[in-house]
């Protein structure tokens, strides 16, 4: 038997050595993809050693957009830091704003009025839909499906128009404040959100019909870049990428924050953990988010948007300009910032890509002692090299598009 095996191995070796199709003659090529390659979604690079088309080994590098946010968090007041959170996951900036404000409110023990929480919830869900639309749209563009992307992009523009009505900015929102919001939503905004959600729902169905059963799309994504449940847990995967592999965790359901208890939604999961599953989980999540938005639009009531906690309440402009106390309050608030009592807390929200965490350690005073930001993409990108090892170079693009690595929250 051994003899047979040996001779078989020998023939196999010979066959490989003399393979007429092996144009590369088993030679290795090192290619450098990124940091400004169009298939890399952001400034990071991957060095891959190829044997023909097969990636034999690779290593990834990032940090090109490192802006020292954690250091800035220790040197800026809590109010000033809100703008820096926009630039984490810039596809869903509102979720970062909400997560950061929740983190500081948790440290201070600030209670919010209901309308503020509902608006924050609606803003988060609009941002999540926009985030997922850009993720599936761009990953489809990378694999050659351009018109699919335009369907999603149109709805995303509409979403940004809704966000613009909230805060005047489309991408870098800075919408939340510690203890409140920048502005109240304009009159009739809820109705517009509901109309947009219903419209987007039908567009998602169209997109679903257009791409999901497309043969080329299926071949390019099914069984590609597989990451199973054990790997997902070992690499701390969260969000849609983990749920695609059967990790049935959604912080909105399992550690409910804001009013997610009061709305009904499902958490879609898949089993294979390949590129296709990550795509289909995102499609289903968009539908669930739209459902949540419709429910929110029905439940939201008129009311105040600011906490009456004097420590964090930014005084209204008529108070500032017409009373001495209001002017001093305003001046102190913006020049020295508000004090946060000593303590530490880790606050997490379900971001577009997964668990977005803010771990703030306060020693008292207007600045944090440690401002740790846990961006899900940091952990997702770590699994990228094992994911593509032994796969074709073309699958690298499918893998990267489907895990939706955002350089902003990875580099911080």
């Amino acid at each position: 038997m051994d003899h047979f095996q040996q001779s078989l191995n020998k023939t196999m070796d010979l066959r490989i050595e003399k393979d007429p199709d092996d144009l590369w003659d088993d030679s290795k090529v090192i290619i450098n993809i990124g940091p400004t390659h169009p298939a890399m979604h952001g400034a990071f690079r991957c060095m891959a050693k190829l044997n023909g088309e097969v990636i034999e080994s690779s290593y990834s590098e990032f940090g090109y957009t490192h802006r020292a946010k954690e250091k800035l968090g220790e040197n800026r007041t809590y109010h000033q830091f809100v703008v820096y959170t926009d630039r984490l996951n810039y596809c869903s900036a509102l979720i970062n704003n909400v997560g950061y404000s929740m983190a500081v409110e948790k440290l201070m023990g600030v209670e919010l009025p209901t309308r503020c929480v509902w608006i924050r919830m609606m803003a988060s869900e609009i941002a999540r839909v926009a985030d997922h639309l850009i993720c599936i749209g761009i990953s489809a563009v990378d694999l050659g499906a351009f018109s699919f992307f335009l369907y999603g992009f149109h709805q995303r523009e509409e979403a940004y128009t809704l966000i613009e009505k909230l805060c005047g900015a489309r991408l870098t929102t800075s919408y939340t404040r510690v203890g409140g919001l920048m502005h109240d939503a304009p009159d009739g905004w809820e109705k517009e959100v509901k109309a947009w959600a219903i419209k987007t729902r039908s567009v998602i169905d169209e997109m679903d019909k257009l791409l999901t059963d497309n043969k080329i799309w299926r071949i390019r994504t099914e069984g590609v870049a597989t990451f199973n449940k054990e790997q997902c847990l070992a690499y701390s995967y969260t969000g849609p990428s983990a749920r695609a592999a059967g990790v049935n965790i959604d912080l909105r359901r399992d550690q409910p924050y804001m009013y997610y208890r009061n709305v009904e939604f499902d958490v879609p999961t898949a089993q294979n953990g390949d590129s296709f599953d990550r795509y289909i989980v995102r499609i289903e999540e968009i539908k669930q988010s739209l459902n949540i938005l419709i429910q929110c639009a029905e439940k939201i009531q008129k009311g105040p948007i600011w906490s009456e906690d004097k420590r964090v309440r930014i005084p209204d402009k008529d108070v500032v300009y017409n009373t001495m106390e209001g002017m001093i309050h305003h001046f102190k608030f913006f020049m020295t910032g508000f004090d946060v009592p000593q303590g530490e807390a880790y606050t997490q929200v379900e971001g577009g890509n997964g668990e977005m965490g803010f771990y703030i350690v306060s020693k008292g005073g207007p600045r944090a002692h440690r401002m740790r930001i846990r961006g899900p993409s940091f952990w997702h990108y770590q699994g990228f090299d094992p994911m593509i090892k032994g796969k074709l170079i073309g699958d690298l693009v499918a893998a990267l598009g489907s895990i939706n690595v955002i350089a902003g929250e990875m580099d911080r």
Partner: protein
Amino acid sequence: MSDVRTPIPSNGGDWLPKFGGLWKSQIEILKDKFSASIEEVMFPGDDPTDVPVVYVKKDSIIEVLKFVKDEAQFQYNFLADYTAIDEEAQPRFEVVYNLFSHSKFSRIRFKVRCGENEEMPTLIPVWIGANWAEREIWDMFGIRFKDHPDLRRILMDQRWVGHPLRKDYPLRGYQVFTTPEPIDPKLLQD
């Protein structure tokens, strides 16, 4: 205001009523089993923290984390966050492990005090995903990890001098490189 130690209301105000009993029993088990290794416990309600913080001695942290990952009463199977804090005290650093349980939905935090020139044990045998987090801690704080397979800088350039998140590193401590970082062929060897 800085001496105000108000208890932190948990997320939505329901973590302490919901998980308080579970946390208490878990800390009892830990104190029984690792009595020599546990230095201090901070508990929400009594101390200004949102979840229990367990300070563990450096030498036994890997054992403790392995235990809480697999043991039936704990099941903290998810490494949510892994970072460090420069405390500007003796010992200088605190290394922080934020854990989450996918079955009980509770969170807990472990901390290890680590001096400036001390080495930490690596967490890679327990969670392979700790690799980059440890590289980031080395990059930002200069804490070395013993037996780490690839302890290079991760966010900063390989030629960077100093560790930016240390409190004594200046806010505008720019370092400018005119050439790109070279590819390291050693990293692509089998």
